[in-house]
Amino acid sequence: MAETIKCPVCGEVNPADVEFCQNCQSRLQPLTGPLKGEDAPLTPGQVPTKKTTSELEPILPQWLREARQQARQSAEEEETKKEEEQKTTPIPRAPDLLAGLASQNETEDEETPDWLTNITGIPSKRKKIEPEDAQVKFVELRHEEPAETSSDQATKEPEQSGLPAWMAGQEAAPEKDELAEWFAQASGSAADGSAAPVQPAPSQPEPSQSLDSNVADWLKDLDEHTASALAPAQTAPSSDIETPDWLKNLDSSAPPVEQKDVEPAPSSNVEIPDWLKDLDKSAPVIEKAPAQSQPEISSKVETPDWLKNLDANATTIEQPSAQNVPVERHPVETPLIRETAETKSEIPDRLQAADASSETPPEAKPESEEAASTGLPDWLASLKPGESQPSESNQSESVFTSEEPAAPESSDASAFTRESLLSSDAGDVFGAMELPDWLTSAAATGQPSAGENPPSAAGEEIAPAELPSWVRAMRPVEAAMPEPSAPASEGAVESSGPLAGLQGVLPAIPGAVVPSSKPKSHSIKLNATAEQQAQAALLEKILGAETAPIPMKASSVVTSQRVLRWALSAILLIVLGGVVFGRTQIFPLPSQVPNETSAAMRAVSAIPDGAPVLAVFDYQPSTVGEMEATGSSLMNQLLLLKHPRLAIVSTSPTGAALAERFMSDALAARNYQRGTQYVDLGYLPGGLTGVYAFAQNPMAAMPLGADRSAVWQSAPLQGVTHLSDFAAVIVLTDSVDSGRTWIEQTALERGASPMIIVSSAQAGPMFLPYVDSGQIVGLVSGLSGAAGVEQANGGLPGFVRRYWDAYSVGSLIAVALIVLGGLWNLILGLQARRAQGTR
């Protein structure tokens, strides 16, 4: 027993006890519990077990269910059409093995089925073929609703009560069997002396496969009486069934015969009606089998009691007929039979086998045929007093005689013709027709003995059943998909049931054939038109263009910028260094002084001599060079001309140090002394708030100087208590915000004190509006503004003159570079446009 299961879907090896695949979650255990372990193929001669394959109907593939449903519908339509045609132009049909059953449904006067007539030894009447087709269809479909035939209405009601349609149809079919009558007439002359006058039998209840209660009482009684006369043990008939008197009489008159054990015909996985099994049983009766085999078969095969009884009854009848009563053959010379005899090669094997078995005892003559011509029921004719009982071989011969093979052939042909129409290839259907192995093997081996092929229980190895041709014809998979490369090795092909031939439908079973892990190939090719493919290609192209990276030229730009920067730096450093270090004075100072600068000089000139002046140093160390050069000229003029007392304050923490540097370096020539000529109030914290506070009350805002001395009592600040007490407020700043803060916050507190702004060149333009508005009286902005002041000083040496040449050269270099750079860019732009225009 395998302990693992290989998943049929993904090939994953799973433990045997798991129900679903651990990899793909496919079912490994079958859904239907009763079918577990019972799907093994049957071998020839093996007694099959009854299987309820209808449970598999819900799990069938959708295509198969639809195909089956379509087959039923089409079969019904065909039956309806044929029925209508038959009503108009009845066509004689060849006698059929199965036709007798169906014909019984249609005949009022022949209530006994063939199998029953075989028991009695009376040859059965030939039946209509068309109803048989439906029954064969039923056999093939297994409990499926057979195609509607002429007896559809009769079969519908019994179906609801649980009886098979073909069986129930016999019970309710009121029609007359024309074929039976024809046989009766044909065999009338041959059975003149022997055949007893047949009394018309009343309509009797039909045997049922499933319910003993449905079995006719007379049949049970018959079985009982015959069984009591036989030595071998037979299936005990029920004793509580009342036997009609006439039957008792008949039974009493029947001579006891030696029991012949009958080996049951092994059925294939295909569920065969019991009546067919019975027929099959009757075939090997000729062989002398051990009597002990009969009970075993009955116990294993669920055969209704009445069938068992009939079987036993048949065996009792067989021996005398075979030994004592030579039976002459009375082939029915009918055109239909001749026609079918010519096509004997097309007879199914099972029928040929049955025929061969019937031919084994050549002396067996179907007297039942002669009796059937009398019009009496077969069973009644065979039980006629003084008549020899027909043997089992006679029964089979009457059915499977070589001269009468047309019936099964026609039945099969008619049955599968309807199905073959669905596949629109009737030739293939007949050509591909295959019969269960048990029938073919029976035909090949003649009569299998019980000793050779003892009935085995279900589960033993039997030959796998093959898919019926009509199902095979409806399979779209075989037509569309290629055959699997190694189906035998993969072992997932279903060997029986309606799923026969399919691979990988049912989950694997532990110990069973290891399924294949190779999944079926499916076409993944997209069905798209040329236009759709073109649109898809266009969309893909657009998306590709959107997502395509654009090459960047950053590296070249960065390189050029770096080179340009180095070049410009070199130019400036070399040129300016040469000018500065060469002490050149090529460029004269400007002769015209800006208005704001002139206003600043006038304001300075207006300051009283020795008056307190507030100097605000609000610039950063980075602009020291410019601010010292710019402010030194004006401050030199102020200190030189007016000798003011300076109070230095700064809103920048570094302002005080820069102021000290300014006084010691830029105004070093003035030699102003701290504490006596100027005081450093130091750092004014609070930003504009501090400025506002200082404007409101300077003494309160900055009570101490930078050296933490009481500067307000010092000489430079004598008499100064308010901001307006300063003669002028000079703001040296490099920031617009700083200068504007002083302008705004001190506007109301300055009073008449003028404010002069000495600013960096970068902040000078922003102070011009304040100059124009009169908020500040003068502005000295940058080196150019200082140049005007220095020019006005009358040649007083200062920073401007030392810087002016370099400043002028630097300005010219800047102008030249800007112009040249602009032209270069203009040329490049024109070239680019020209290149675009050329393209």
Partner: protein
């Protein structure tokens, strides 16, 4: 003997070179110089803030001041301590009142100073540009006043970004505003040019001053 001026000159020279090395790109010398400058400036600012603000205005009065001065200084002391809570993320909310006072007072002072020191005087100056009594020539008044007025109006219109939606769905300003704004753009461009020239002049002057320092340091300058 090495004088302090010489040491200061050597340090200034090397640090100036380190800063000027930025002309060839960012380099460690430039970064070192910057870091040192920042550190020295921070230290100097801290020392200045302590000795010129905290000590004389807070600590010294608390120690040596009168009771009234101490009582009055309690408020700024508490606010200052609360403002120090901004250092800790858990206690930062405690510094909010101090920050609120700073912002409130600073905003009020700034707005008041802007209104009284810039807006009204500038508006008045623009109006008075056409005052013929304050100018020598009416033509100058008209030209200057006209330029100032046009410059102010068009520049204000340039910063007027209100626009409507056209039929095509695009956003566009009114036609007259668009024309005025175009003229204002010219004034703005001129102003930016002036500012750029001022920045360049300031930087050029600073470079010249450093070059002059180098000349002086090596005895090349006067």
């Amino acid at each position: 003997m090495i004088s302090l001026d010489l040491i200061s000159g050597i340090l200034a020279f090397f640090f100036s070179l380190m800063i000027l090395s930025y002309l060839i790109g960012d380099n460690p010398l430039f970064r070192i110089a910057v870091y040192i400058f920042v550190g020295v400036s921070a230290g100097y600012v801290a020392a200045v803030a302590f000795w010129q603000a905290i000590w004389p205005d807070l600590i010294q009065p608390l120690i040596y001041g009168t009771t009234l001065q101490r009582a009055l200084l309690a408020i700024p002391l508490v606010l200052s301590v609360l403002l120090l809570m901004k250092i800790s993320p858990q206690l930062t909310r405690l510094g909010t009142p101090s920050m609120a006072i700073l912002v409130g007072i600073g905003s009020a002072v700034a707005i008041g100073g802007a209104v009284t020191g810039t807006l009204f005087p500038q508006i008045s100056a623009t109006i008075n540009a056409f005052d013929l009594s304050k100018v020598a020539s009416p033509i100058d008044a008209i030209v200057n006043g006209g330029l100032i007025l046009v410059g102010v109006v068009t520049t204000l219109a340039y910063f007027h970004f209100s626009a409507g939606t056209t039929a095509e769905g695009s956003v566009k300003r009114f036609g007259l505003i668009e024309i005025i704004a175009f003229v204002g753009g010219i004034f703005v461009a001129i102003t930016l040019g002036v500012l750029f020239a001022g920045v360049y002049s300031a930087a050029l002057t600073a470079l010249i001053e450093r070059l002059h320092f180098f000349g002086t340091f090596f005895g090349l300058g006067n």
